[in-house]
């Protein structure tokens, strides 16, 4: 046993952060910009997550949605339980507990010079946005950038203003679809996989990044296999119950892997013998 325990910090003790901006993205998703009260940056990498908590209500893992290239950090929280309901009631200037950042990162280095294809299903856009924005802030380091966004219904669409800006940009391609047709929607209708054949990049040579609800992965991965994208070039960002964030509590395990440490971003080829993954 190590005898220098006093030098180890308490891995379960949150630091406080202050909400500097907040707005609803749709009926259930709250967007927040936060700054650490310490004055320091979170120093996260795209793909990582934090444990967000309100003392008395508990703690939950939340993906970081912003790029480390900007000041502060951004989170999106769905109103789904007692903790997130309370988070939704917080105003600008109020404080919240933060632990982290935790977990693995998107292939920032490995993807340099290559075409990138982001496949985002619903709330999966939130963590993907951390890398999309990082890439846009380091645009010359990467090849063609294509972002596919699929949302269940029109009202659930996230980051609408930002997507409108992405649509205008000449240095990226945004394609959006919704699962169910809507009077106000003139765009694509259908699940996100229907956009894959429309990608202009040479798919087998692109780096493909996938994040969405559990049910989506199987279908997207089948479509990518059909498009002959090697498993080495595919990265998935997986959701599990990352309760402790530090590889101890066991809740987030996918077979022998801990999503909070080995993930949440995995290279798909590394999950070939991990049957619980998808």
């Amino acid at each position: 046993m190590c005898d220098c325990c006093s030098e180890h910090k308490d891995i379960y003790l949150p630091e406080m952060a202050t909400i500097t901006k907040r707005r609803m993205l749709n009926g259930t998703e709250l967007f927040m910009h936060l700054e650490m009260d310490s004055g320091k940056e979170l120093e996260h990498a795209p793909g990582q997550f934090v444990e967000l908590s309100i003392a008395g209500l508990g703690e939950a893992p939340i993906s970081i949605s912003s790029s480390p290239t900007q000041k502060g950090f951004e989170l999106v929280v769905r109103n789904v339980g007692s903790l997130t309901r309370a988070i939704h009631k917080l105003e600008v200037g109020q404080k919240i507990g933060v632990r982290g950042p935790f977990g693995s990162l998107y292939p920032i280095e490995q993807a340099k010079g290559k075409d990138l294809v982001f496949i985002c299903g619903g709330i999966g856009l939130v963590p993907q946005r951390s890398f999309i924005r990082y890439v846009l802030d380091n645009r010359k380091d990467y090849g063609k950038v294509t972002v596919l966004v699929g949302t269940k219904c029109y009202d659930m669409r996230l980051f609408r203003e930002e997507l409108a800006l992405w649509l205008e940009r000449k240095d990226m391609i945004l394609m959006e679809t919704i699962d169910e047709a809507h009077d106000c929607w003139n765009g694509n209708v259908g699940v996100v996989t229907t956009l894959i054949p429309k990608v202009e990049s040479d798919l087998p040579k692109s780096v493909v990044l996938v994040c969405g609800p559990p049910v989506m992965y199987k279908f997207v991965l089948m479509a990518l296999a059909e498009a002959e994208v090697p498993a080495d070039n595919i990265y998935v960002n997986l959701e599990r119950r990352m309760k402790c964030g530090v590889g101890k509590c066991g809740h987030c395990q996918i077979n022998g892997l801990y999503v909070c440490q080995d993930g949440p971003v995995f290279r798909w080829s590394d999950l070939a013998i991990v049957p619980e993954a998808i």
């Binding site: 325990c5 379960y12 609800p213 559990p214 101890k248 509590c249 066991g250 022998g256």
Partner: protein, 346 residues
């Protein structure tokens, strides 16, 4: 290594001297016709002839409910980390090995101060098994005897205890012992004979392979029908997790005090057999089938945890899960032996 000797009467006086000096001693005592680790009031209650305790000594290393933080509701929090010294008396070798595994798991990677600070305050007096329990299979798991990891190891040689004092913490306790004598070589031989016998005798269920083969056995066992067959009877009660000395999965919950202004963030035992162990927000359960949870437990013991601690198997053969399981399906040996016999099916 010097082995010393205390008569049984002197050993009782040694324990009482620790208690009289205000030391907190937890030892094995009777609970109806079974045994448990509990706060010791006097040496008279101590039962070092026990077979197995209902719960492992894990509950003093990783308590069922343990405060991590104190907080003001909606406000800031402080760490709770004041741990008092504790003597844990009568830990069987298999339970000691389980604690040593947890020491490794909580100190590797992200260092868990709550576990480690508490652990460092604990002095472990281990003892060799005198009476095998009805479901023990420690011999199969090669955990029936230990040669290190304890502060003191005691062995009942009939009229006396032999004491092997291994650490500074162990030596510090010996100031309470009166009448300590060097063990005669005949005594040491007796001790060796007891340990040699335990090496093979603590084996009510016989594992059909070397314990070191288990991780490889599991490689081809993932789709074997045994998971479905056994789990069909599973109540998902989590008893196997709760009584297991190597299960350390936990949940973290906030408990608000009666004043509704302050509270504690606590860590409490959890179990991967419980239905909602892998459920996330929005009610998606990543391990929905009983069979997937049943399989996960045995894969953790034989493959996943060993991968983190240098190949040590995270089942120590105490047999508690076999005794605790209402449906009589938890016996790891039955499952591993079945997998051995049908290695091609997986």
């Amino acid at each position: 290594m010097s082995v010393s000797k205390l008569s049984k009467e002197q050993f009782g006086q040694f324990v009482d001297a620790m208690l009289a000096a205000g030391r907190r001693v937890v030892g094995v005592v009777a609970k109806d016709d079974r045994f448990q680790f509990d706060e010791l009031k006097s040496a008279a209650a101590l039962r070092l002839d026990y077979d197995v305790t209902i719960l492992p000594p894990k509950k003093y290393v990783l308590p069922q409910v343990e405060p991590l933080l104190q907080f003001e509701v909606g406000g800031g929090a402080q760490s709770v980390m004041n741990y008092d010294p504790l003597v844990l008396l009568g830990v069987h070798p298999y339970d000691l090995i389980a604690i040593r595994q947890m020491d490794e798991l909580f100190s590797q990677g992200e260092y868990d101060r709550h576990y480690m600070d508490r652990r460092k305050q604990i002095t472990i007096i281990a003892c060799d098994v005198v009476r095998p329990s009805k479901n023990i299979f420690a011999s199969s798991m090669e955990t029936a005897v230990v040669s290190d990891g304890y502060d003191i190891l005691i062995t009942d040689i009939g009229d006396a205890y032999l004491l092997d004092v291994a650490t500074e913490k162990g030596h510090a306790l010996m100031t309470y012992a009166k009448g300590l004598a060097a063990a005669a070589s005949a005594d040491v031989e007796k001790r060796q004979a007891i340990q040699e016998a335990n090496r093979t005798a603590l084996n009510k269920h016989k594992l059909g392979c070397k314990v070191s083969y288990l991780p490889r056995l599991m490689e081809k066992a993932y789709n074997h029908p045994v998971w479905q067959e056994k789990a069909r009877l599973c109540f998902s009660c989590g008893s196997c997790n709760q009584v297991c000395p190597t299960c350390y999965c936990f949940d973290v919950q906030d408990q608000v005090n009666w004043d509704l202004k302050t509270g504690e963030r606590v860590r409490c035992w959890d179990g991967c057999l419980l239905e909602n162990f892998a459920t996330v927000a929005g009610n998606h359960n990543f391990r929905k089938d009983r069979s997937s949870r049943f399989r996960h437990r045995l894969f953790r013991k034989a493959k996943y945890v060993p991968e983190k601690i240098g190949g040590q198997i995270a089942c120590v053969g105490c047999g508690r899960c076999i005794t605790a399981c209402v449906a009589d399906i938890a016996n790891p040996v039955t499952v591993y032996n079945r997998l051995m016999e049908e290695r091609t099916l997986g």
